[in-house]
């Protein structure tokens, strides 16, 4: 069917599947777009940094703003000692941003609309918080779950709440990105589908289709903004969570 709004999220094998250690693994359209995303990021940044002039040209300005935005973010939230995480946060932000933006092209696959991808990114971040926290502070890191200066009787209730709150981080981090991208793309597709069905009705339908057409145009603009905002929110929450690994006491 032409306007099946879910069709765009279907994963299919491009190459394979091969039998690797008893698992059916193929090269899917999702894999293809992940490779394209990495190629776009590396290609763009190399192109932007190619000249390296003191007064930046247009391309170099974009590259410097991209770099400077994340540099300022890490510097602000994590401080000087958190700069070791800058390459990680920059990579995460770039991957999510380019994945979201590439998804805005018609017929392109949106990698971040797959919950398994966003969940893997979020799990990796929170797993890193645990590993770095314990490596830096030893068992003292678990003070994160016992807020300072609270009566011991309250700790019985507060500690499980803090624990569940910590566990919910990867869920909210991954679900938010996934939900925003999925919902946005479905809504766009549905409104575009309205236009097609209404036009088929004849003259009255063509006039009536103007409203969903305008809506689809407005939604496209909104989706571009959401694509950037969600990448930004993902990066800044990564910084905020990594801050707990460096300074576990509230």
């Amino acid at each position: 069917m032409v306007n099946d709004p879910i069709h765009q999220f279907r994963i299919h094998n491009i190459l394979g599947p091969w039998n690797i250690f008893g698992l059916e693994i193929g090269f899917t359209n999702s894999n293809l777009f992940m490779a394209i995303i990495v190629a776009v990021i590396v290609g763009f940044l190399l192109l932007a940094a190619r000249k390296g002039t003191l007064v930046p040209g247009r391309l170099q300005s974009v590259g410097e703003m991209w770099y400077g935005l994340i540099h300022n973010m890490v510097d602000n939230v994590l401080g000087e000692e958190g700069m070791v995480f800058f390459p990680l946060v920059f990579s995460l932000f770039s991957f999510v941003l380019v994945a979201n933006l590439l998804g805005m092209f018609p017929y392109f696959f949106t990698v971040t609309s797959q919950v398994i991808v966003t969940a893997a990114l979020a799990m990796f971040v929170v797993g890193l918080v645990i590993v770095v926290g314990i490596a830096r502070h030893g068992l003292g890191w678990f003070k994160l779950f016992t807020p300072h200066g609270i009566h011991w009787g309250m700790l019985v209730i507060i500690t499980p709440i803090e624990f569940i709150s910590f566990l919910s981080r990867p869920i909210s981090l991954g679900l938010r990105l996934f939900g925003n991208m999925l919902a946005g793309h479905i809504v766009l597709k549905v409104f575009a589908g309205f236009v097609v069905s209404l036009v088929a009705l004849g003259l009255g339908g063509i006039i009536g289709s103007l409203a969903p057409l305008l809506m689809a145009v407005a939604l496209t603009a909104l989706e571009f903004l959401v694509a950037f905002l969600q990448a930004f929110v993902f990066a800044i929450l990564t910084c905020v969570y990594l801050n707990d690994a460096l300074h576990p006491s509230h």
Binding site: M65, L69, N72, M83, P160, S165, L229
Partner: protein, 133 residues
């Protein structure tokens, strides 16, 4: 963009390109015009995107809350499955998850991280500082 209008730019002096005074004046006026255009755009942008920014903020708080309840319910259900006391831990951890959701939301609302616009306005990274790291 903001870097090129920095008056203390490292190339404002002793650069052979800017030796001629009229060339420098021309350059200054184009840079000033670019800066003015940029600030005009920045002032008009927030109004246009206010709805989208609020929407994303609301969605953020909502997802924090739902995630708390979801995880609480899952942990409770898992414990029950292990021990075999089905409704007991599920109910307990759903309540704890509710508390965690509220805690998540209040944290997310109080700790407002800087917006992209604020970060862009902050002083740019100090040149030459990262080269030796």
């Amino acid at each position: 963009m903001a870097r090129s209008v920095d008056p203390k730019g490292p190339n404002s002096e002793s650069d052979p390109k800017f030796g001629d005074i009229s060339a420098r004046l021309d350059d200054l006026s184009t840079r000033l015009a670019a800066e003015k255009k940029q600030t005009d755009q920045q002032e008009s942008a927030p109004k246009q995107y206010q709805g989208a920014a609020d929407y994303s903020k609301g969605y953020r708080l909502f997802s924090e809350f739902v995630a708390g309840i979801l995880v609480g319910g899952l942990v409770g259900f898992g414990l029950d499955k292990l021990i075999g006391t089905l409704p007991l831990f599920l109910i307990m951890f759903l309540l704890i998850g509710f508390g965690a959701g509220i805690l998540n939301m209040s944290r997310a609302a109080n700790r407002t991280p800087p917006t992209p616009e604020e970060l862009a306005k902050m002083p740019k990274l100090r040149a030459g500082e990262d080269e030796d790291k």
